[in-house]
């Protein structure tokens, strides 16, 4: 993995993470899973088209899959709100996660979002509460959970579906407190200083692994995932098989204990 480390600056890595041609959640699902059945709606308000939830088979194991929907074209991006979920998206995810717990299905989430949608209606419907409730629930949910960062993972909107037993990051994925633009805007009141923010934020996969937040980096080919998606799918499949079988071999109380410990000791 030395090649990318030395070759690309954080600014370039952020660009790679956001590349329109990167594989998206549906690409991963068709390549890695069988019998996918998509579920819709939060049973409270509506169906968020930026959040995908469903049931599928990974190898011979039924699993719940969920994650952010992003698109390559402008029209499709508008349709999925550029991957920015509203509260009903997070509540759809809660519903899927609770059902996974009921039927003892492991959960695999795919994260690719600039953040939760900052809109008037999102606030009216309790964006903060929706995200808080996801994190609250995942922290003790009694099934194995694996989160895969496939592109950009920004802010609480990403964390809401990333609290898990294992965090996997595609080599060119990023995970950060906020988008570099938002970071520059809050800290320096100048979103144009985003390049500087990219350099300082420590948001590339190697940083996150070094911090003990990401557990595993999944290799991408030279030039990033779009240059050879099959290679990426193969690498991720292998990683998921290994991690899932390790997690499924654990007693569930032990699993929860380890998960809580992971988040308890991040920081001071």
């Amino acid at each position: 993995m030395e090649k990318n480390l030395t070759k690309h600056s954080p600014v370039e890595r952020v660009a790679l993470a956001r590349e329109a041609q990167r594989p998206k959640i549906r690409d991963y699902i068709s390549a890695l899973f069988e019998d996918f059945f998509e579920t819709h709606g939060d049973r409270l308000y509506g169906d968020d088209k930026s959040m995908l939830c469903g049931i599928a088979r990974f190898g011979n194991i039924p699993v719940t899959v969920a994650g952010n929907i992003k698109a390559a074209t402008l029209a499709e991006s508008i349709e999925c709100n550029f991957g920015m979920a509203n509260p009903e998206g997070y509540r759809k995810f809660q519903r899927a996660a609770l059902q996974a717990e009921k039927f003892k299905r492991p959960i695999i989430t795919f994260i690719d979002t600039p953040g939760a949608y900052p809109g008037v209606e999102a606030e009216m419907r309790g964006q903060g509460e929706a995200i808080a409730r996801c994190i609250f629930m995942l922290s003790s949910l009694r099934v194995p959970i694996i989160a895969v960062f496939t592109g950009e993972g920004g802010s609480g909107g990403a964390l809401a579906i990333a609290v898990s037993d294992r965090i996997l990051m595609m080599e060119n994925a990023i995970f950060s407190i906020l988008s570099p633009e938002g970071f520059a805007s809050i800290l320096w009141k100048d979103s144009k200083r985003r390049d500087e923010a990219c350099e300082l934020m420590k948001l590339i996969s190697e940083d996150l692994e070094h911090f003990g937040i990401a557990d595993r980096i999944v290799e991408e080919p030279e030039g990033g995932a779009p240059s050879d998606p099959k290679f990426v799918f193969g690498k991720l499949k292998l990683a998921l098989e290994e991690e899932l079988s390790a997690l499924m071999s654990l007693n569930i109380d032990e699993l929860i204990k380890q998960r809580r410990k992971k988040y308890r000791f991040i920081g001071v």
Binding site: V120, V163, M201, K202, I266, V268
Partner: protein
């Protein structure tokens, strides 16, 4: 004067006030004592619980002032030694912390204490908006988590007063992860039957709203407090339109079903005592 002008003026005053709040050390009020909302000369501040005697506007108060107001008498501060580190080696952050610490007279944006409220023992954590806007970094996350764990260990009720601009940028991803740390602690406390009152004060936004602040068994708010996930400026820039009047204020949250009640400072202590008393006894019986 037009209603909307009053609103804009109030917004501007609030902005000015938070600028002022940043520049003065905890506790004390700015020298030129006038209400940021109605402009009248403020008087009897102690009796008025640091709100305007005329319009009721709630002035920002420090965390130590809040503890003093909430507890019956003396209280014991907890986890005082916890302070921030510089986990992503952010340039200039240590110096910034040192200067804020000496100005605010506290070593982080959160104080925690245990004491009696209406003769019922309780743990109380308070965020201080005078310390880097009450932002949550590793130290704040740790103090909140330790407070929750302390309450769980001693089977005590927990009250958290939030006042925060959100996650602390200078600590990067570590700040974000405090959302998971605190929410996970609240989950364990809740599963054991622990009683948690979240009290939202001006302003409560970002990662604090999207974690422990929204997870109270009972959620209270001070009148007129700004409460939300995304900041109003970010929303305005996203939707490219002016925000509706009263948007993201306590009254707006009550209207939309996200808080239980708006309780002003004069009723704060009596309300807390009432709720604590209603939740006394062994959980699960």
């Amino acid at each position: 004067m037009q209603e909307s002008n009053v609103f804009i003026q109030r917004q501007r005053r609030i902005a000015e006030l938070s600028e002022k709040a940043k520049s003065y050390a905890g506790g004390a009020l700015p020298k030129e004592d006038e209400c940021p909302n109605c402009g009248i000369a403020l008087k009897d501040l102690e009796d008025e619980m640091h709100s305007c005697h005329k319009c009721g506007f709630h002035l920002p108060i420090s965390a130590s002032k809040r503890l003093e107001m909430v507890f019956d008498g003396s209280y014991e501060q907890l986890f005082e030694k916890i302070s921030a580190v510089n986990p992503i080696s952010f340039p200039g952050y240590e110096q910034k912390l040192e200067s804020v610490k000496s100005k605010a007279g506290i070593n982080e944006a959160c104080l925690a204490a245990v004491g009696y409220i209406g003769a019922i023992k309780a743990v109380c954590a308070v965020l201080d908006s005078g310390f880097l806007m009450g932002s949550m970094g590793t130290a704040v996350g740790e103090k909140i988590t330790l407070s929750v764990e302390y309450a769980e260990r001693h089977m005590l009720p927990l009250i958290i007063f939030s006042a925060s601009g959100g996650a602390r940028m200078q600590e990067g991803i570590f700040s974000l992860m405090q959302m998971a740390k605190t929410a996970s602690a609240i989950k364990q406390f809740s599963d054991k039957g622990g009683f948690y009152i979240s009290y939202l004060t001006h302003p409560t936004t970002g990662g604090v709203t999207a974690s422990f602040a929204s997870l109270g068994d009972i959620i209270l708010a001070e009148p007129g407090a700004l409460i939300g996930f995304a900041g109003p400026r970010v929303i305005e820039q996203t939707i490219k339109a002016a925000l509706p009047e009263g948007f993201q204020r306590s009254e707006f949250l009550l209207e939309h079903g996200f808080i239980d009640a708006i309780i002003d400072r004069k009723s704060m202590k009596a309300t807390l005592a009432q709720l604590l008393s209603l939740h006394q006894g062994r959980p699960g019986l």
